[in-house]
Assembly symmetry: none
Homo-oligomer: 233 residues x 2
């Protein structure tokens, strides 16, 4: 049994490739870590999964690649992230962008086992490719969002922001957190940027649903209808 995956690591291609092959995994090595290289190397029957190396590199670059893979027309299988120990905390709130991770130093047979594990579980697991919250439906594959059945025409950043908020309903995020988690860089300058994007989102949600994004004064924003019952905090 051989599994075709894309392996996004910038170096040591030869030895790693060999090591994977003995575990029954055939990797296409995309050293650049860019989407177009990933696509160029893709076998005709597609990838079974992806292994993305974040260790020793800017974490957000890896996250962006995950996002791109998830949003592709052609679905890629489970995404496995390679991280350094100090990057463990960065994984929080990004659980939806990858399916599993390995902490360095890396063991090829562990990675292969995780790949197989996720592939097998993919059958049973109801991997929700969409988010449903309070009339909002976001299809993570087609990159579309509808509110109460009406299609919302969202731009890239709008979609990412809404998705982040909607995947963590009721939870309040500061503008700084949103900037670093959604935009992906340590913010330089305007926290007002978030406000403006929230405003645009509310406009596109329509007057009736604008309240789905709530302002928590002096704290930030959160997604979710008003809490009617308090016992399920």
């Amino acid at each position: 049994m051989t599994i075709d995956v894309v392996l996004c690591v910038p170096s040591c291609e030869g030895p790693i490739k060999k090591a994977f092959e003995v575990t029954g995994v055939t990797p296409a090595v995309a050293a650049s870590g860019r989407l177009n290289e990933v696509t160029a190397l893709e076998p005709t029957d597609g990838y079974a999964g992806a292994v993305i190396n974040a260790a020793g590199f800017p974490f957000n670059d890896a996250m962006n690649l995950c996002r791109q893979l998830r949003q592709r027309d052609r679905a890629v299988g489970p995404i496995i992230l390679l991280v350094d120990h100090y990057q463990l905390d960065d994984l929080t709130f990004r659980e939806d962008l990858f399916d599993d991770f390995v902490v360095g130093p890396f063991d090829v047979s562990e990675i292969a086992t995780r790949l197989r594990h996720r592939l097998r579980r993919a059958g049973n697991e109801s991997v929700a490719p969409r988010i449903e919250q309070g009339g909002l439906v976001m299809n993570l594959e087609t990159y579309q969002a509808t509110i109460a059945g009406r299609v919302m025409d969202l731009t890239y950043m709008e979609y990412e922001l809404l998705r982040f908020l909607a995947t963590n309903p009721q939870r309040v995020f500061t503008r700084e957190t949103l900037l670093s988690r959604v935009w992906g860089y340590e913010y330089y300058g305007g926290a007002r940027t978030v406000d403006v994007h929230v405003r645009r989102l509310r406009a596109k949600l329509g007057e009736e649903h604008a309240h789905l994004i709530q302002t928590v004064r002096s704290v930030g924003y959160k997604f979710g209808a008003d809490a009617e019952r308090g016992d399920d905090l």
Copy 2:
């Protein structure tokens, strides 16, 4: 945020338990690895997940425990398996018995991260950090507070003040202390400010629960139901 899990390891209980607690996971240590011990230690609101050690032990024993946990009336959350490197192959075709695994040597923070990852992927929201005191529940993620199930609509300072008081129940704070701890060290303002905020809090707590914030004449304020002896401070 604390997550209650059952940790099935046969030895070294003390240090491991401590190590887990700093990652926000509270383990019940079932050293025998038997189901009845797991059940005996279970908290009233159940386990959020299970960590089962197979490393250095017969693999099938661990598998049997997984099976028993899965077949229980009361569902246990994600099951994480601790394995030795040479046990990796044993995992094949048993993917449905566990949700994730870690290869030794074990890193507690990695295990905790995997727990959180699986909990989030399963859509479990019960991992939110919260304060519960005398009918008051404060969710630190959603910035919501409820008293006896009723949602309190608190402003920022009200929330901060109540949180500070409720995290230190029964303890009396002077107005000066509250000003410096809640408002900030360099805050310079009248002590009457505290009184007014306490008043607003009591109003929002409702007549029935207003007494949760008690006045200690010529000292300050404290949180907590009365009829408590003073010797347990």
